[in-house]
Symmetry: C3
């Protein structure tokens, strides 16, 4: 399955510099690329690999063209063009429609005849599985769950009772959607469970990473809007709302009822406290703790620098008395200023 | 299935103000509630929704009664009363007793005739499953595991060999209990595995969140006492002991042999180092690193504030030389004080 | 199944002090040990338990011998010797070779006749399972996966398409290896998926913890070298390389394309940012954020101390203006020094 560079340029609306007839069959990194491979440059720090790349062609911007020794595919956004071309050259594996003999499907579940249901899958009462949906081996699809057309659910995923998934969603292995929120009321020291009777509503084109968990709402629903991308091992608590096209990196925790805007980006290991609101177009850097609502777009951070342990220990110890340091500095300044005035 | 407000008041030992005969069928938030719905107010910041709520009745304290325009159910602890009423109005789904035809059960496992065992479940040799226990689809119950009466195990859970679960436990999808502790000994650079021959003992009324992991002990057992509530994605290492009625939020990590007291609360993303002891009634705020034992009840924290990235970078850089700043401040103070004395 | 202390000494190349003929059948902690038990001392803080231990024998160093009242097995590294002896006394459970009737195996998969395949396992097309491999109940082994001899895969594990596992690997329940990396390109606010066409290559003697996730490479492979030990709930992103004999504690996140050296140790909850390089023999303490490459062996840390919440709040607030404090200190110093010169 090959394309000419000219074909690909037309596909991504780019311009060829060099031999438009050269055949492209695979994608590869600049360092590993050889005959028939197309590569890309989107991160300036990799520009040094341009000179010696064995790639048949490289996708890059006009500004980087002069550094390239081979055929170029010039576009505005090389990484997006590369993503599209790679998807063209590496189509997702197709699955034969049908239900595996070992799957256990409730009588009143509605499964599209074009869906493919893997081995050892369990599908509950009243569930609906749309066209061309794939459900991988070992998945458990609870009662009244709805999975819309073209969604792809990998292995060992659990979708709990009543969860709704939009079109073209991609759910990776081990993810759990619709587990009970952590709702507990303290009755003189003993915790009483608060029933979690909301659900989870996931929009279209959402990707949910391996072993990520999304809790169902306590009363209203937890909502993941269209185009949201969640990496692995993320915890989304009950009644959280994540705005459209927001991307969240691995190991992030989002506490209950937090509302995150559209087009946000949250770095790995960050934690967002409950009931906060984050406006659109906010970036949170890795491992930050979001302790307050964020009303203005921008980049936000917390944390301290990595240091050699001996150095760090000294600073660490001083932090313990930072308030005292600040007070002493204030006093000293005041004293000096008074002395100045007296003189 | 409805109750009068009077019925509910009797059930939670509260007092009706208004029409005790009004019919209650559902629970809802103040904002969403309509005819037949009962809501609650336990967080002062939601008091503004009281005026316009469409709820048939609201559970609240005596102090909030004057702000309420509809029927009231007055109690000391509205959230606990709400939890009880919600559980009454939303009973957990019941499962027909019996073993699904696809389940694989060892000949010598003992399964109560009132238990319900889902599709694709595997139960090992010598395992014991008590009365009214539910084990969801895809669970793996290892050899010699014991699950006591009334416990509910959701889908795709793994209980490893020998693990013991108390009564009325609730285990959410993807949880793993009894995996090997991380015991490795360094033999001149190469790690040698230390067999993990302890087990995990879980008390009564324990809730364990989705994809949470609890390791088996190295020699003695890992112990989770009665009434402990664990949120999702928590890691509990070998030989940890968590005291009764302690609640731990999502993404917390507890290192080996840490002992956590009773009635503690640990915020999301916190980490407790190994071999530490935390006394009863301690609260740890989100994302704190517990680096030392805690002997006194109270609230404990670590970390730095979230800031706009440009501001944060400057402070971040200064932290690197905080010890130096402290020394310079000391010197300056000394100098000024000496000058004072000389004058 | 018992051994004399003399047998064990020979097995670990140690020296008996006391009765070499005493029979040893089990291992136990110093505190719990009784007749027939062997214990060990490797952490000085446990030395106080030596005097009253009921152990038949204790593994310890020459230096600790004088504090011991019972038979001694003297070695250089007691913890390693203990690990070996414990493995001898507690052999891993064996599994009868064969494929469970409920397993679903692709026709062209190659399964060794000595392998044991559990209930409800799914094995894809072209997969290869080596000699004496155990695959636990509920595992999903994708197309073209290869699991080498003597590896042990616990329950509900997913190995995605094309993943390669070395010999004697140990994979704990719920782990996911080979899920898609988090590769997304931003096309005017909408995320476009970048196909993840690399795989994961895991070396020999690697241990992978419960619910740990390792993503497949975007173009090249993600690589876990020989002897690496990963605890639970770790997230390893695409194209990461982890060097041989490195050990990583629970809840760590490693972002894309990070390269970690050999013989490193990373503490629980730490995060390593993407595209960084960490040299060999580096230790990162718990919950540190690695924001830059590390070129020198050593111990590295970040973070602030745990404090009583009231104290911490004050310091926390001051951190917000640390840069300002530093500037003011500079000015004050300059002023004082100038005054000095004038005098």
């Amino acid at each position: 399955m090959g394309f000419t560079l000219e074909d690909l340029a037309r596909y991504v609306d780019g311009r060829v510099e060099g031999d438009g007839q050269c055949e492209i069959t695979h994608v590869a990194t600049l360092q590993a690329a050889g005959k028939g491979d197309i590569s890309f440059l989107s991160n300036r720090s990799y520009r040094r690999f341009l000179r010696d790349t064995g790639a048949a062609a490289v996708i890059l911007t006009e500004g980087d063209r002069e550094f390239c020794q081979t055929n170029c595919l010039v576009v505005d956004n090389p990484y997006v063009a590369f993503a599209r071309i790679s998807a063209l050259l590496n189509p997702a594996p197709t699955h034969t429609p049908g239900i595996h003999a070992s799957a256990v499907i409730a009588d009143d579940a509605s499964i599209s005849s074009t869906a493919s249901i893997g081995a050892h899958v369990t599908i509950g009462s009243g569930a609906r599985v749309g066209e061309n949906v794939h459900i991988g081996p070992g998945c458990v699809i609870g009662d009244a769950v709805s999975v819309a057309d073209e969604s792809f659910i990998h292995s060992n995923v659990t979708l709990c009772r009543g969860v709704t998934l939009g079109k073209r969603c991609l759910v990776h292995p081990g993810a759990v959607i619709g587990s009970d929120g952590f709702g507990i009321a303290n009755d003189n020291g003993v915790w009483v469970k608060v029933p979690q009777i909301g659900s989870v509503v996931v929009g279209d084109d959402v990707e949910i990473g391996a072993n990520t968990t999304i809790d169902r709402g306590a009363l209203d629903d937890t909502v993941i809007e269209d185009g949201v991308k969640l990496d692995n091992q993320i915890q989304v608590a009950h009644n959280v709302r994540i705005g459209a096209h927001t991307a969240i990196a691995g190991c992030v925790g989002i506490a209950g009822s937090a509302v995150i805007g559209k087009h946000c980006a949250i770095g790995g290991g960050a934690v967002v406290l409950g009931h906060l609101q984050i406006t659109d177009h906010v970036q949170i850097t890795a491992m930050s703790l979001v302790t307050r609502s964020i009303r203005e777009p921008g980049v936000y951070s917390s944390g301290t620098p990595l240091q050699e342990n001996d150095e760090w220990r000294k600073n660490f110890a001083r932090f313990r008395r930072l308030d005292d340091m600040a007070r002493r500095l204030n006093r000293l300044e005041k004293k000096i200023n008074e002395t100045d005035k007296q003189e």
